[in-house]
Amino acid sequence: MTGTSLRTYLLTRLALVVPMVWILLTLVFLLLRVAPGNPIEAALGGHVPPSVVKPIEHRLGFDKPLLTQYGDYLWNIVRGNFGTTITDNRPLSQIIKQNGAATLELTFFAMLIAIVVGVLIGLVAGRYRDTPVDIGGRLFGIVVYATPPFFLGLMAQLVFGVWLGWLPTSDQASPLTQALLQTHTNIYFVDAIWDGNWGALWDIVKHLILPAMTLGLITAGVFLRLTRINVIRTLRDDYIEAARARGIVERRVVFVHAFKNALVPVITVVGLNLAILLGGAVLTEETFNWPGIGHELVLYLQNRDYTAVQGIMIVFALVVVGVSVIVDFINAFVDPRIRY
């Protein structure tokens, strides 16, 4: 490995971000325009005559040629102007700050649950291969991975919210907590700690459990199976045999030598799974009335709010591309075999 080749690789990887994002933005732009109807018709149609609708469409530029609209759209993005939503005059920056924070909170805890549950069960299943523990673990992994998030969410609501009455079934916090909590970061969990408001924190944690579990378990299935396979493979490696031959106790061989190495590929997948997690977040947020960015995306899509949908998609794209670039960087540093 030479410094030059690594630098070239990193620069190439960074340069590729631009066409990737551009292709995605173009697709979003075209798909929205291909879908019939526009935000003004959605808002005013069935209420006021076309003679009122047309001038408003003209004022907002919806009657301009598609190419002109596309040019305006790209130019605005280049200038960092994501605009204001058409349907409710909300700056995109506010959506990203406010709803993005709610999604961040949910995905962070979902990822935490996914890692803890997935990796732990995977380690145990791999270590005790073909035992009932392994079979149970594999079955669990397949079931949670295959179950759609909204179904898992509905089941969780029914069992823990309705039947047992242990946990709230919707929202980021109870109405009073939401109303009284001072927002500093818009991440309620952090805001409650910031203010030392432990009562609110407890309320927020209770509201987090079901959505985070629902979203986290889906990804946990992936981690579980990957960890299990890596543990099995690692336990067969020569250096494990060598460690055993040196008389190192089995517990140390498994926990210190095998598990540590088995987790390296899992770290890469954790980063890449963020995209899956964001996709799942849209459905989970809808199910639990979680006011995240996915929840907003659905709302704006229904109203054909071009500005809002495009802006939110840019955020999704940048997050996914950003994380994949970071993962690639880490891999490039860690694994000298990775090069273009």
């Binding site: 019939p36 149609g45 409710d88």
Partner: protein
């Protein structure tokens, strides 16, 4: 290693203990302090709170707590002066002079004067917001003041229902010192969202929550609760769970008929129902074959399964409707019942089709939209299809499109299609002129000289009795010409926990959710 682990364990136990203790203290403390705060849930979406660009019911429900007009419906469905003490008109009904109530203050303490009223009307006309509320003031030429407490409205045409326009949010009075003259105030700018209503909007988190506190400068009776929180839900099923769990005190707008039926059986919940003004109707493009044939339209009118839709699809939460004007409003008459009967009449439908001279079963396409008018729309149109097909006179194909597409097409592309109506103001004028005028919003090609003449006479009528007589004639003519067929009117429904009081006092044909009358 062992010591470190123990230390972490102790720390975790300590944090949990503190959190649990604080949780109990927080829950108890806040409950007593905020016990009178009413928490409502809704599946609605707030578009714009600024009255100059608010033209949807969910935003209106928010505005109703903060703003007031010169006229309104403070109690019941009868129009009453609110910020005005009364208005008088010139003989030609083109100039309206309103006297303002003295001593009214905005929530920030600013006095409300005629300058604020003029400012508010000028602002709506200047901004011309993209939600289209300014169209309600299309007949307003100018607004002038005469002293601090008199406002004069100069209209383009005689307009007998002008006081009703003053009750809409196009006529809500805003503080000229806090609202910009030429642009819409952002929903989250609560510091400047100043009105004269019973509450002050203190916090608004889009698509999550609106928080209101009682207005200390309110000129009327103080709200019966200590404040109001409206929580927004994307799905009614989630809202139902929150209500069942006690996170909400009440929920208004909108549960599915099935959910309402289920909640009606629960002891901890009460389903409240009152007169409603929301209607559903079928529209024909009277220029497009085969619906350009009046006898085809008549046959469909004879077969409309109103009772089946009301009972089977909506479980009795709606009532069969026999006029474009819902029952409960002055001048409403069951015109369609008079002409086509209370229930389907196959013999008369057959006679109409014979007169139409078309080959039966006639293939027709009816359009409907799946989500905009609620999930029950699919079943509603399945019933209509079943009824028409069962007659042997029609072979109906149902087609649907999402609202964003559907609302742009209507009469321009469809021959027969579903629509719903929520009034701009609860008066028969809004249920007739909107549908029967030439070039109506749904572009169905209907134009009648007789109807146009009746509309002009109604708008120029100097007494209510005369106006109502014209409105009755318009309903009968509409039923005869059949550009539309109304089939149900919805009730105003709210669901509450059993300890909530006062909801029934606000369920009337005005369709105003007056939260300030509700306590717990």
């Amino acid at each position: 290693m062992g010591k470190t682990r123990k230390r972490w364990l102790l720390l975790a136990v300590a944090v949990l203990a503190v959190a649990a203790a604080a949780g109990t203290a927080y829950g108890g403390g806040k409950a007593s302090k905020a016990g009178k705060i009413l928490v409502d849930g809704t599946t609605g979406t707030v578009v714009n709170i600024d009255p100059a660009n608010e033209y949807d019911y969910d935003s209106f429900t928010v505005d109703l707590n903060i703003f007031q007009g010169l006229y309104g419906f403070p109690k019941g469905a009868k129009l009453q002066p609110v910020l005005a003490t009364g208005c008088s008109h010139s003989p030609n009904l083109k100039t309206w002079t309103c006297k303002l109530r003295h001593g009214v203050k905005f929530s920030n303490g600013d006095p409300m004067t005629s300058a604020d009223v003029k400012y508010s009307f000028d602002r709506v006309q200047k901004i011309k917001g993209d939600q289209g509320i300014y169209t309600l003031l299309s007949d307003l030429k100018s607004t002038s003041t005469s002293g601090a407490y008199t406002v004069v409205f100069h209209l383009i045409h005689p307009f007998s229902v002008w006081p009703y326009i003053l009750s809409t949010n196009a006529g809500y009075v805003v503080d000229k010192n806090t609202f910009p003259a030429d642009k819409i105030l952002a929903n989250t700018d609560t510091a400047h969202m100043i009105g004269t209503g019973p509450y002050v909007l203190t916090k608004f988190t889009p698509s999550q929550q609106a928080v209101f506190t009682p207005n200390k400068n309110y000129w009327g009776a103080a709200p019966k609760n200590g404040g109001l929180i409206i929580n927004y839900f994307s799905k009614s099923s989630t809202m139902k769970l929150a209500l069942q769990q006690g996170s909400l005190d009440m929920a208004f707008q909108t549960f599915t008929p099935t959910e309402l039926a289920a909640m009606g059986k629960q002891k901890s919940l009460v389903v409240h129902s009152g007169h409603g003004v929301v209607i559903r109707y079928l529209v024909f493009n009277v220029k497009r074959p085969p619906f350009n044939n009046i006898n085809v339209r008549r046959a469909i009118a004879y077969l409309m399964p109103r009772q089946t839709i009301a009972s089977r699809v909506y479980h009795g939460t709606v009532e069969p409707l026999y006029s474009m004007v819902p029952q409960g409003l002055p001048s409403a008459i069951p015109a369609y019942k008079t002409l086509y009967g209370a229930s389907p009449n196959l013999a008369k439908a057959k006679a109409a089709m014979k007169a139409a001279k078309v080959k039966t079963p006639l293939k027709i396409t009816i359009w409907w939209t799946p989500s905009h008018y609620g999930d029950a729309s699919a079943d509603e149109y399945a019933e209509i299809q079943r009824a028409l097909n069962a007659s042997g006179l029609f072979k109906v194909t149902l087609k649907s499109a999402e609202w964003a597409q559907y609302s742009g097409a209507l009469g321009k592309q469809y021959g027969a299609f579903q629509l719903g109506w929520f009034p701009d103001y609860p008066d028969a004028d809004d249920y007739t002129v909107s549908f029967y005028q030439t070039n109506s919003f749904f572009s169905n090609g209907y134009s009648s000289k007789q109807m146009t003449s009746l509309i002009a006479k109604e708008r120029g009528a100097k007494t209510s009795a005369l106006r109502y007589s014209y409105l009755k004639k318009m309903q009968l003519l509409g039923a005869k010409d059949l550009p539309t067929i109304p089939y149900w009117q919805g009730n105003m429904i709210a669901v509450s926990r059993s300890n909530v009081k006062g909801i029934d006092s606000t369920l009337d044909a005005a369709y105003y959710m007056r939260f300030w009358l509700i306590s717990k």
